[in-house]
Symmetry: C2
Subunit: 136 residues, 2 copies
DNA sequence: CAGCATCCCTTGAGATACTG
DNA sequence: CAGTATCTCAAGGGATGCTG
């Protein structure tokens, strides 16, 4: 059977594109950095190596689960290095790798834009929402 | 009752920090841009105004729902302008606003880093995953 | 053409409790 | 100290069908 319905061809075009989207480097990076705690953790580590409990205290709203998950993903990506010092009690330090450090200027540029412009974005949101309410 | 348990104080510290996280401009920006289709749509619009159906065809994997949702959010943020030309059939164009255009260099820098370094990230992932399998 | 409405499933993420 | 394990809930995101 080489005949295929239009629906099948369309579905294939979709998933083929989804594969390309997933393969797009910029997208994959943005999805990772866009995760809730990733940017915060990177920002903390930019100041130098930090211990797990130290990070947990600084990012007061993070649960152990999310902190570990975030650090593990960054470690898996090669952006963060995890160092265990066998002692009692155990000492675990997290630090940016060279690759991780090379990312920081990009993050800084993003943060700079945000600080300069997010108030405009906020204003736009308020005006948009107000217009929505009027027309409902 | 002014006495409060440790758990209550901790919960308060958490939510207080969550408010601050949500208020952090850089985080809010990254969460928006990290959404699945946002960066793709911005990239398309960087080349000039585009029609809805045009975008839908170019981003072959997107459903109408997600495309509309993405465009609406960008419009609400003041990054994209929506222009309806009343005709038959209707013609709707989306274009970057000045604010949206000012964001593009930042996105470009991010994309550049990604293109130069995501293969290293990929390699790190493979080696991390291989190490995991060995120890399981 | 440019969507909206509905259903459904997966994932993200928080709370809570326990451990080497 | 530095996690792991389990549960739960809401949100994100996709499929499908309908409409001004």
């Amino acid at each position: 059977m080489t005949t295929r319905t239009a629906a099948e061809r369309q579905a294939d075009a979709r998933s083929a594109h989804l594969v390309r989207v997933a393969a797009c480097p910029a997208n994959r990076l943005l999805e990772r950095v866009g995760e809730k705690w990733t940017a915060l953790v990177l920002k903390e580590l930019a100041g130098g190596p930090r211990r797990y409990g130290d990070l947990a205290r600084t990012l007061a709203g993070v649960t152990p689960k999310m902190l570990t998950q975030t650090l593990r993903r960054l470690e898996r990506d090669g952006l963060v290095a995890r160092t265990v010092t066998p002692a009692v009690p155990v000492r675990v330090e997290y630090a940016l790798t060279a690759l991780g450090q090379s990312l920081m200027p990009v993050l800084r540029a993003t943060a700079d834009w945000a600080e300069r412009n997010m108030d405009q974005v906020e204003a736009a949101r308020r005006s948009y929402d107000a217009a929505q309410r009027r027309s409902s």
